[in-house]
């Protein structure tokens, strides 16, 4: 099912719009992740696609057909609610079998399928429990099983794995991906786990305050954030930013960060026609920083915080008055307050207009073709 949102607007009160003129197209069988800060309107968008909320204006199309007035039950959707929304009076098995019951699947068959799905989410031993007797993660898995059991045309997953432990999460991810692929279900996933979004989704839509900010495939989003907001939002740990000034001397542009001057023409900018110097945010991802001194750019700083996360150390480095984060191999011993030299490849640098937030970096015009 191809889903199109056109000029969708939704407001809960008359003061402001929660969803603001949203346009989004999801191809048939595509897996899209919705990313955005808490409260930006992801759940609301999902609920509009599901048909629970009616948009104040704009249209929702399924396969080119306008469905604004189609009842949720006729949309053939499976959904995991952020709040699970399990039926408290039904057992786990009945909860999972419920969508099938609505499709008038024969009783035996229905329970058979529900049991299989329950096994899939590793709940086979809890079929007779009521939701109130389950742990948080178990409840969430019931919600997941209920969403997929009827093999819907559209799957809406609102943080379906947030309460699962790391191992289970990976297993569930794989299950979801498998079903999605096998059945070609058009899927929308809201998640705060960026790795999840990156690995599972074909495309990622980044939202902010009800607007769509960027919509592209994971790598493009990661490597070519459209603006400052996307850059700082995508990637864990987030991109480091240093304030700098972009200016042009003899047709050669450079960025000055404190004493550091980085030559940016050709490599980064298409051309910089600016006459006056301009404030910019210079972004470098922590993973792009290396503890060497032979890269394109060398940044000097002092170690201010070291955190061990097992496979490496996360180090906060003070550069001028700003802080940046980088990763260091676990076997390297660092001391608080000691000077440190970090290098990065020039390609790893991102430039954003400090005033508008727009990216200034040259991007090859690549269009993502989904297959």
């Amino acid at each position: 099912m191809k889903i199109e949102l056109r000029n969708l607007t939704k407001s809960f009160n008359n003061k402001s719009n929660t969803i603001n003129n949203l346009n989004l197209t999801i191809e048939d069988g595509e897996f899209v992740a919705l990313l955005g800060p808490s409260g930006c309107g992801k759940s609301t968008t999902m609920l509009m696609i599901a048909g629970i909320y009616k948009p104040n204006s704009g249209e929702v199309y399924f396969d080119g057909q306008i469905v604004n007035d189609l009842e949720p039950k006729d949309r053939n959707i499976g959904m995991v609610f952020q709040s699970y929304a399990l039926y408290p009076h039904m057992t786990v098995l009945d909860n999972i079998a419920f969508p099938l019951k609505q499709q008038k699947v024969a009783k035996e068959e229905r329970y058979e399928q529900a049991k299989q799905t329950a096994e899939m989410v590793q709940l086979g031993h809890l079929l007779d429990r009521k939701p109130g007797q389950l742990s948080g993660g178990q409840q969430q898995r019931v919600a997941l099983a209920r969403a997929i059991v009827k093999k819907p045309k559209v799957l809406l997953l609102d943080e379906p794995l947030s309460n699962l432990d790391a191992r289970l999460k990976i297993e569930m991810r794989e299950e979801i991906s498998r079903i999605q692929r096998e059945l070609g279900i058009t899927t929308i996933l809201v998640t705060h786990d960026q790795e999840e979004a990156m690995t599972m989704a074909h495309r990622i839509a980044v939202m902010k305050e009800g607007h769509l900010i960027q919509y592209s495939n994971p790598m493009e989003l990661y490597n070519k954030p459209k603006n400052y907001f996307v850059a700082q939002f995508v990637g864990t740990p987030p991109m480091n930013f240093l304030r700098g000034t972009l200016s042009s001397v003899d047709k050669k542009s450079n960025v000055r960060i404190n004493e550091l001057i980085i030559d940016v023409t050709d490599t980064l900018l298409d051309s910089y026609a600016g006459e006056k110097s301009q404030d910019v945010n210079v972004g470098i991802r922590p993973h792009d920083l290396k503890l060497e001194n032979d890269g394109d750019i060398c940044i000097e700083g002092t170690v201010s915080l070291i955190e061990s996360i097992g496979h490496s150390q996360m180090v906060n480095v003070k550069v001028g008055n700003e802080y940046i984060r980088c990763f260091v191999e676990p076997n390297i011993k660092l001391e608080y307050g000691s000077a440190i030299m970090l290098t990065a490849n020039i390609e790893a640098i991102h430039l954003f207009d400090a005033a508008t937030g727009e990216s200034l970096k040259k991007h090859n015009v690549e269009t993502f073709i989904y297959n």
């Binding site: 629970i52 909320y53 009616k54 007035d69």
Partner: protein
Amino acid sequence: MGTVLKRWKFPAIMLGPFVILIFLFFFLPVILIAIIAFTNMDSAMNWTFNGLTNFHKLVTDPNIVQIIKNTVLYLGFTLLINVGFGLALGILTTYFVQKESVGLVFRTIWMLPRISPPVVYALLWLWFFDPSAYGVLNSLRALVHMSPVDWLTTHPMTAIILANGVIGASYGMIIFSSAIKSIPRDLFQAAMVDGASHWAIIRDIIVPAVRWPLMFVTLWQFLSLLTSYEYILLLTKGGPLFDSEVLALYSFHSAFKNFEFGYGAAVSLVLVIVALLFSFVMWKFFRMEKMLGSSKIE
């Protein structure tokens, strides 16, 4: 057109039977009564309009002051017992008594008055207040060597208020305990962790959670009491003299003892106007329109 039809179909089906029933057997009769109030309909059941005669008669009635005084007393105190004690019972039997079966035993006992035939219930109270030394209250007095008292003659209003209060309290109890049962357990848990004492849980969790039934019971019992007279009729018949006659009983006496249907209707109409005023005040006071939240399915 189509969308209008679609929008109204569901509420129309759901509310249809309700509205039709009420319209036919409640709303229309009320209109009729309002008309009858301006007639001198009596046992011959003729509709002869007589203007404001009935109302004139009401205001010049020599007993009306006493009746109104009784009505106010009766209403105020009985309502207090009904709602206050009903809530207390609801909380006691569901929140404090944690064993469901024990709570059920207490609730069942408190239901007894309500499920007894009114005559029998009245009989029990008559026995309680019996003027002889064998009455419950008097035998208690006898223990401390006090002479028996004819409670129903000396304190008719107290007796009526008590008897009605006990019945009404069970109404509140059932509704409140059901509502308390519906509160999710984790709210209590959160409140306990947040340091709430029992009293605070009652005040900040239970009462707000049952605010709709609470408000409803208050308003509903208020109106019920205003228009009820059954137990008064059985216990004291409004007597001695007019000492425990209330407006509703008076309306009943006029309509079905004296067969002055017109006058009886006029008395009820006055009752209704009083009720209207009070309900309006309470509606505002409880901020009821706020409780009609908007739908989250569109």
